[in-house]
């Protein structure tokens, strides 16, 4: 009895922590979608690209982890600026589908550039994050790794910083304004281009954090970009425009798929983890298409 309860707790915690990883990727999506209405297909690849750059810098230059992280942040900001300059600026006022197609192109370019610069073999990423089981929890009979806890704490801190950024700062206010109404934002003198560079930079940094967490736990490899696909059901669940939605959506999917795997696996076959998120998303699309926290979309015809 005690054992099965402990096991349930362990599964739940494991699910929550896996969910945090999904949330991190989904968060990057939400930021860009909120401020520009662009669905950024390249978000997952940005996480991969950031992690590759980080590993590459650490290997090739032999600099300490924190220096490499600062440099990678610089690279992500430069990348945001380039994306605005070379892509977005030329596609202003185009249909969302065209911008979406552009981000698909961007995803392939980034993957290619990453491959070209740093090679395609799996690399270990060690930025000095603690690993191994958390002792006192292990003593209780629950296996949780320190890395997972660090990831959760980082995600929480990131969300807190973003909340302050959005609510307290002038630029945050400008970002919210742009998200609400482009024309009105322009009329009070907010430059859309500056805002786009900022928002792509921020989601580039979020991608870096996601890349570090995933890379530390399972190595930096090109399949990392596939986690972006898991972020999609997270977004459908949480709503495309909601930061809390991205977090809670990630947690629900993380826990849901673990529970389903453990407790339903015996009855309907295993590998539920692979499809659970998508079926849940499908159900949501049928019942509540705007997601848990999203705004109801009313299109004027």
């Amino acid at each position: 009895m005690g054992d099965s309860l402990l096991y349930f707790i362990e599964v739940t915690i494991g699910g929550l922590l896996a969910g945090v990883m999904y949330s991190l990727v989904a968060l990057g999506f939400v930021l860009i979608f909120k401020a520009s209405g662009i669905f950024n297909f390249a978000q997952g690849v940005m996480a991969l690209f950031a992690a590759l750059t980080l590993v590459g810098l650490m290997e090739k230059l032999g600099v300490p982890a924190w220096v490499a992280i600062v440099m990678t942040i610089g690279v992500m900001i430069l990348l945001a600026w380039l994306i605005e300059r070379l892509v977005l600026q030329h596609l202003v006022n185009q249909d969302p589908i065209i911008l979406f197609m552009a981000t698909i192109g961007l995803a392939y370019v980034l993957e290619g550039v990453g491959d070209l610069m740093w090679g395609s073999d799996v690399k270990a990423l060690n930025v000095g994050l603690p690993d191994g089981a958390v002792d006192w929890m292990f003593d209780l009979g629950i296996y949780v790794t320190k890395l997972e806890l660090v990831a959760a704490a980082t995600a929480a801190a990131l969300v807190a910083v973003l909340a302050v950024f959005f609510q307290r700062t002038r630029i945050g206010r400008a970002l919210r304004a742009v998200a609400d109404d482009h024309q009105a934002a322009l009329s009070v003198g907010i430059s859309l281009r500056t805002i786009w560079v900022i928002v792509w930079s921020v989601s580039g940094i979020v991608a870096l954090v996601a890349g570090i967490m995933w890379g530390s736990s399972s190595g930096v490899q090109f399949s990392l970009s596939l986690i972006a696909l898991k972020a999609l059901p997270v977004l459908i669940l949480g709503g495309f425009t909601s930061i809390p939605g991205a977090i809670i959506g990630g947690l629900i999917i993380g826990v849901g798929e673990k529970w389903a795997e453990i407790y339903l696996g015996d009855y309907i076959g295993h590998a539920i983890e692979n499809w659970f998120a998508y079926v849940l998303a499908l159900a949501f699309l049928l019942i509540r298409p705007q997601g848990l926290f999203g705004e109801k979309i009313i299109e004027r015809v």
Partner: protein, 268 residues
């Protein structure tokens, strides 16, 4: 009411031979007129006359194919919206373009955006210089809130406000920019008589107390004739007439095209 206690100054903004087309549709053809410092300038005309297009050209949303715009002595082919804002042009919109999810206060604070310069790190810490700056701007915003008598709705998300109040918040946001030229697109549309009277009073007060130059589009002829110094009349993208309310009222073209109703010229 037409005689205000303030001197009309030199030309603040001049549009020369502006032509604007969208594909096959000619929205504006060879429009020229000027707006002088401190005056209230009305732009009138039937639906589809090109009034809003004209405002959009002035603040840079539309770029005309021909013509030039001179603002404060600087000649240019086309404005860019945030440059126009930077140089002192603020505006409101026909269908109210507020940031619906944000509070009245935050909406108005966006109007101060261009005047705030403190570094983002200070802002995030909300400490030191950034805090002083934010408070300074809050004070100015509170003055505007008092001025427009919207103290009670400070914290309300503007999406929840009735239409008349939303228009007032929109005006407040524009005023927060401390503009030299204020463009108002149908500030009284959809308002009841009482709300219209309030809005009229605010527009006149802004003009008199702050000396702000105002260009407005309005359909209520009574209001237009009462508060404006000069009126320009557009029809099908062409300029029909330009002059004082009395001159425009007497112009036969205008009567034919627009006022056109002999039995009641107070209604549009």
């Amino acid at each position: 009411m037409t005689q205000h206690e303030r001197a009309i100054g030199d030309t603040l903004l001049k549009v020369d031979n502006i032509s604007l087309g969208f594909g096959g549709v000619q929205a504006l053809s060879n429009i020229s007129f000027d707006i002088r410092e401190h005056e209230i300038r009305a732009i009138i005309g039937p639906n589809g006359a090109g009034k809003t297009s004209m405002l959009n050209v002035i603040n840079g949303f539309y770029h005309p194919q021909e013509g030039a715009i001179t603002f404060k002595g600087e000649v240019r082919r086309a404005m860019r919206p945030h440059v126009a804002a930077k140089q002192g042009i603020a505006r409101t919109f026909q269908n109210v373009a507020l940031f619906k999810g944000m509070s009245t206060l935050d909406n108005i604070m966006t109007g101060r955006n261009l005047r705030m310069h403190k570094n983002i790190l200070w802002q995030m810490l909300y400490y030191g210089p950034a805090r002083t700056e934010e408070m300074e701007h809050r004070r100015r915003v509170e003055e505007i809130i008092d001025f427009l008598e919207i103290q009670a709705i400070r914290r309300v998300p503007v999406g929840k406000l009735p239409y008349g109040l939303q228009k007032r918040v929109e005006l407040a946001r524009a005023l927060a920019m401390e503009p030299e030229l204020l463009l108002l697109d149908e500030p009284m549309a959809g308002m009841n008589v009482e709300e219209k009277e309030d809005m009229c009073r605010f527009i006149l007060d802004v003009n008199e107390q702050f000396g702000t130059t105002i260009a407005l589009i309005e359909h209520d002829m009574g209001v237009v004739m009462d508060i404006s110094d000069r009126v320009v009349v557009l029809d099908y993208g062409r300029k029909l007439a330009d002059g004082t309310p009395d001159e425009v009222r007497g112009n036969q073209d205008v009567i034919d095209a627009y006022l056109g109703v002999p039995h009641d010229e107070g209604e549009a």
